[in-house]
């Protein structure tokens, strides 16, 4: 044993001696009757299973309530999403494109391929040619959000915008 450890243990023993002396001097407390404690412990144990069942029932009810709230929130979110649907990005021949749907006119005005540069109130929107689809009126249009404005009519394909309110078939 190292000297430091021996010294520390000796010190601790002397400090314990203080506590021992104090414990001996302080009056002994009156401790509760063991029978009363055992009875209380038994009574609490008997109450235990009932309380556990009640706690379990409360937990199950809470879970069911939480699940119901979650369903309502999810349904509400879906509905909102449908209402707020915007123009879709569609590829040629894409079955999801509602060809029979009504399409709005171009807004802003769209230039046709090969046309002159757009007038002062027109804007040209460049989209890949593969995104061209045929609309219900037979006019080839593109159903995309405007990507970028093209400076020349040759650089872009036809585009269209679908009105949000009319996006669903």
């Amino acid at each position: 044993m190292s000297r430091e450890r021996w010294l520390d243990e000796a010190l601790e023993a002397s400090e314990r001696a203080l506590f021992v002396r104090r414990a001996r001097v302080l009056p002994s407390p009156s401790v509760p009757d063991l029978g009363a404690i055992l009875a209380a412990a038994d009574a609490r144990s008997r109450r235990g299973p009932g309380m556990r069942a009640r706690a379990g029932a409360i937990a199950v009810l809470s879970l069911v309530t939480a699940a119901a709230v979650l369903c309502v929130v999810a349904a509400s979110a879906l509905t909102t999403h449908e209402r707020g649907a915007r123009a879709i990005l569609a590829d040629e021949g894409d079955a999801s494109v509602p060809l029979g749907a009504a399409w709005t006119s171009y807004e802003p005005p769209i230039c046709e391929p090969g046309a002159e540069e757009p007038g002062p109130d027109e804007a040209c929107v460049a989209v890949p040619a593969s995104l061209l689809v045929a609309s219900s009126d037979g006019f080839s249009r593109e159903c995309v959000e405007p990507l970028e404005q093209a400076p020349h009519a040759d650089d872009f394909a036809l585009t269209c915008r679908r009105d949000p309110e009319m996006s669903s078939p």
């Binding site: 010294l7 000796a10 010190l11 601790e12 023993a13 002397s14 400090e15 314990r16 001696a17 203080l18 506590f19 021992v20 002396r21 104090r22 414990a23 001996r24 001097v25 302080l26 009056p27 002994s28 407390p29 009156s30 401790v31 509760p32 063991l34 009363a36 404690i37 055992l38 209380a40 412990a41 609490r44 144990s45």
Partner: protein, 210 residues
């Protein structure tokens, strides 16, 4: 920070004290590992309850509150004694429960008042008279009560609990770590600091005379 000089107290001239100190340091007669069941706890109750009461009184600073806490601690202990893991020392486990109960009571009833040093010293005088101890021993008794109680009053509650479990009730560092929910290193640091306060209090009481 300067650490006060360490001195061993002149207590060894009292016959039988060394043996008593050793017994307490080892956790008294409850030191042996006992099976954790209701019978063992019942057998331990008469000896353990006063020590747990003293522990709770030192933490809560109130006799009546300590009595309530003692009852609650043992009710919980008897309810759960069959669930104690094997190898756990029953007394140390009960002290852990008592510590939790004291925390709950403190939260429920607000900050407990501190133990009055003068009150403990008065109690010590009265009891010493009843036991007809020699004047020298009475003086040492009063000194022990005064110094320990004053040192405890200077400690924060957590550190006080750790010191009491170590020096007054003889728990090992591992057992204190489990009872307090601390790491072993934290237990050692807290007890080291608490012992520093105890030594400083003792030095102040003696007027710093080596």
């Amino acid at each position: 920070m300067t650490v006060p000089p360490l001195r061993v107290l002149p207590l060894s001239n009292e016959p039988g004290l060394a043996e008593a100190v050793d017994a307490e340091a080892d956790g008294g007669s409850w030191a042996a590992e006992t099976p954790c069941n209701r019978t063992a706890l019942t057998a331990l109750y008469a000896e353990l309850a006063p020590a747990v009461h003293r522990f709770l009184r030192d933490l809560l600073g109130d006799d009546a509150l300590a009595a309530d806490a003692l009852q609650e601690a043992f009710v919980r202990a008897f309810r759960r004694v069959e669930t104690v893991p094997r190898g756990t020392r029953l007394a140390a486990w009960v002290f852990g429960i008592a510590r939790n109960v004291s925390l709950e009571l403190r939260r429920a009833r607000g900050r407990a008042r501190r133990v009055l040093v003068e009150e403990d010293a008065r109690l010590a005088c009265r009891v010493a008279d009843v036991r007809a101890r020699s004047p020298e021993k009475q003086l040492l008794d009063r000194e022990a009560v005064f110094v320990v109680t004053r040192a405890l009053a200077r400690l924060p509650e957590d550190r006080r609990a750790a010191l009491l479990l170590r020096l007054d009730h003889g728990l090992s560092y591992d057992e204190i770590a489990r009872a307090m929910g601390w790491s072993l290193s934290k237990v050692k640091v807290e007890i080291f600091r608490a012992r520093e306060v105890l030594r400083a209090t003792l030095d102040a009481y003696r007027g710093g005379v080596p």
